[in-house]
Symmetry: C2
Subunit: 497 residues, 2 copies
């Protein structure tokens, strides 16, 4: 007999796990934010081989003890209210419940048929959320039925990196089709299809990684197809530089295929001007070539649930796709990237392949099979957690959450400005403050190391062009309150000497 | 104030969720296996807009009621003991607990530093599992420390599709490097790098999809770079056909870059002969070109925890990578693909890019950053669930699980063979029985539709070359017992008239 966990044991240990989580989140401030262990510490603590025998009745007590003793010291506590590093990666009660039920139902949503609820709930909550952040209707599905007229819709991808990659695949498919190469019986075009891609020097590294995976860059430094466009003094893409690059590429025989505009760059939450970029694509004739404009709003998109921040998406109606991560700053645990496109046919054209063993009546009737919108075949029931978050918080709850972080960021910015040893080195557009000690990079690096090694707070750095080493302070953890922000500043101020 | 869920509410609703799951799994046989709803049924039931207001105290009762009333009828019950479709997608108590704690800890494991435990536990349990399925030592990490000598190691990818894609990226990187193109200061090679890829006609569709994403196929039918090699009468790749294709490509100036051998094809669990394929790569001189041999053992790899099935991996010591899915047939819920390579440097060479905002002391000290082993940047703490499964079941528990399914498959096969209206149409190598009614395809299709529309059992089909429409019966659900298998056959027999 296979020693499955009995229903009684499952209930008991699952209730213990719930209490473990509640206790963990309740006492999280007592732990060092950044794990203080050394490479190998945990690996070397664990047994060299898998256990041979099935665990006895006491094994689960051992597991929970090991979790506390061996694992937790190796955790960097992303949920700590004193976590100000990178961008946040939120978790919340409703999201944990969604993830739990997703695991418990054990659903595989690769096809509509393999769990229609997994697909249809996703289509619906993506419509809800798209509307909340103010996307034009043609980015939404608006219907789960095959008779729908539009060509838009939303889907949950794992991460913004994957969204950037699938959008690139869709872009290439569309531009190549227009170039005449996808139809094997069409006459050959006069010149080969040579795609060119554009993003800013401040774009996320996942754009370059997507180009590498897609075969359009042999290394991070390969610029055969990829152009990194200069930014203005506020670290946003310079549309005039984009226009020059596109015109030069057109002259050289390239087909401008893919443009990634960033709304909220990782280094400084700079906002690329979507409307001006769209204007460049129109004035250079790129629209006729099928050039795809993707908006990477991974972190900042969440803020658009508040009408007062919606202007950062001005021009989105000219974009082909947009992605943002509720798993960053919208209370939904990783992974949950919401990807919207106005051209789902190009997306599925780039990614769909249907072997016999996947054919089924649902697909035949035109229902959405989300496997054709993503890289993997299989998919979890991630819509559950997003549904729970939306039902628990409601739109007003989401807005008050974002607004509170914006308010705290104003507070922090004013604290930094009040100390003339420091300077703010990038415009604050939302919940990220970029600052540094006036003077040497080395002093800033030392300061950051001291702060992080204390375990009291955790923040990270970047290097901004024309500025140098920059300390980033991002206020986005679920549990962060004003006193955490003020205490963090006090600690930074004191540590700076 | 943001209306976060209170700790008290979280405990109460989480305990309710646990009971919901336990009750669901306990009563799962009372539900139709295949969801019987129509496209749009759920989408149209849900409100048109996200809720505006934060849920009141009663909202969670409403959510659980909606889960039962609206969502569950739209679930195809992969965990039902009467689920015999596709390949299984297991969930178990220990795995659910791992997923739950992963969500509760809210860890982001993109870098070693962002939670060392997430990386080091993963490295360790992948070593455990690699050893259990009999992988040679050079596929294992064997150490989390930077001083390690080897170039191998394991990582959790989301799915086998992603494993196939990252292996392709690594393969291309290595072959291109050997071709002399990656070093910009090297003299140009005499001919451009033209990679060719090989897999069998029975390989999973994800190989073609990987080629499309990687820019090596413009459509599922594009054979510019991709060769689909014929199979023998048992649906396994024919090494002689592979050799002919490689020799022809070499003559044409292609660089054989990537070969995917399947151990346990999706249609019939056919087993490609790894050792003979490796021999072909050697005899054609491909080894010197860097040709990468990847083993896709997505479903079958789990069986290798039993020594008596380990022979299907004979020759694996000549492969460059192998992947299998504990989320299919090893009691660990989706997603959990275990990917092993002997050449991690080529993998990270293809996928690594380090912007300033990700630089950190852990990376500098040579610790593993699993972000460089995968497509996304972010990653969940998936090692927890695998650890829990291994500790709960132990190696002996995993083996007894696999052996029981093998035994039940023998039982089912003998039942089919005893009824001379039916025929077995592919050799049974493990837990999949391929059979059909003798006679017309249409009769088999009608039979399958009747079976699935009953809601009593769920199975799927394929088309095998030289055979035609084939019904697949895969025994791999966690809860399936002998009486389910016998009842399923009785129902099939009766439905066939």
């Amino acid at each position: 007999m296979t020693p499955h966990m009995s229903p009684t044991d499952f209930r008991r240990e699952a209730h213990r796990a719930i209490d473990f989580i509640a206790d963990y989140l309740g006492s999280i401030e007592s732990r060092p934010v950044l794990s203080q262990i050394k490479p190998g510490d945990i690996y070397n603590t664990l047994p060299a081989h898998a256990p041979e025998h099935t665990g006895n009745a006491a094994e689960w007590s051992n597991i929970f003890a090991d979790l506390e003793k061996t694992i937790l010291p190796g955790i960097t506590h992303w949920q700590s209210p004193n976590f100000f590093a990178f961008f946040p990666s939120n978790t919340t009660g409703p999201a944990i419940l969604g993830e739990l039920l997703s695991a418990g139902l054990g659903v595989q949503g690769m096809l509509w048929l393999t769990s229609p609820a997994c697909t249809e709930l996703e289509t619906k909550v993506l419509d809800w959320l798209g509307e909340l952040i103010g996307l034009p209707r043609d980015f939404l599905s608006d219907s789960a039925e095959p008779t729908r007229a539009g060509n838009g819709g939303g889907v949950i991808e794992g991460t913004a990196s994957e969204a950037t990659l699938v959008a690139l695949c869709a872009a290439r498919h569309r531009a190549r089709t227009l170039h005449g190469l996808s139809n094997p019986s069409a006459p050959l075009p006069l010149r080969p299809f040579a795609p060119s891609l554009y993003t800013s020097t401040q774009a996320h590294s996942s754009v370059i990684k997507a180009a590498m995976i897609a075969g359009l860059a042999t290394s991070p430094d390969d610029r055969t197809h990829l152009r990194l466009i200069d930014c203005d003094k506020h670290f946003a893409l310079d549309p005039a530089a984009l226009e020059r690059a596109i015109r030069e590429d057109l002259k050289q025989g390239f087909t401008p295929t893919y443009v990634v505009a960033t709304v909220g760059t990782t280094s400084s939450t700079a906002i690329d001007p979507i409307d001006q970029i769209a204007h460049v694509l129109q004035s250079t004739g790129c629209n006729k070539l099928g050039t795809w404009l993707h908006i990477d709003a991974a972190h900042a998109g969440a803020a658009c649930v508040c009408p007062e921040y919606r202007s950062m998406l001005t021009g989105v109606e000219s974009a082909d796709s947009i992605a943002f991560n509720p798993h960053k700053w919208l209370l939904t645990n990783f992974d949950c990237n919401c990807f919207y496109t106005r051209d789902r046919n190009s997306l599925t054209g780039a990614l769909s392949i249907t072997p016999e063993y996947l054919r089924n009546s649902g697909t035949d009737s035109g229902a959405i099979d989300y496997r054709d919108w993503q890289i993997p075949l299989g998919r979890r029931f991630r819509a559950l957690k997003l549904w729970f978050v939306l039902r628990h918080y409601g739109a007003e709850g989401l807005r008050s959450y974002i607004r509170e972080h914006m308010r705290l960021s104003e507070v922090f910015e004013s604290l930094v400005r009040a100390d003339d040893r420091f300077e703010i080195v990038a415009p604050r557009s939302m919940n990220l403050i970029c600052f540094r000690l006036k003077g040497e990079d080395a002093a800033n690096k030392r300061l950051l190391d001291s702060l992080n090694q204390s375990g009291k707070i955790y923040l990270t750095h970047t290097v901004l062009p024309g500025v140098g080493y920059t300390i980033r302070f991002c206020i986005g953890a679920t549990l962060t309150q004003e006193h955490h922000v003020r205490a963090a500043w006090e600690f930074i101020r004191q540590t700076a000497g």
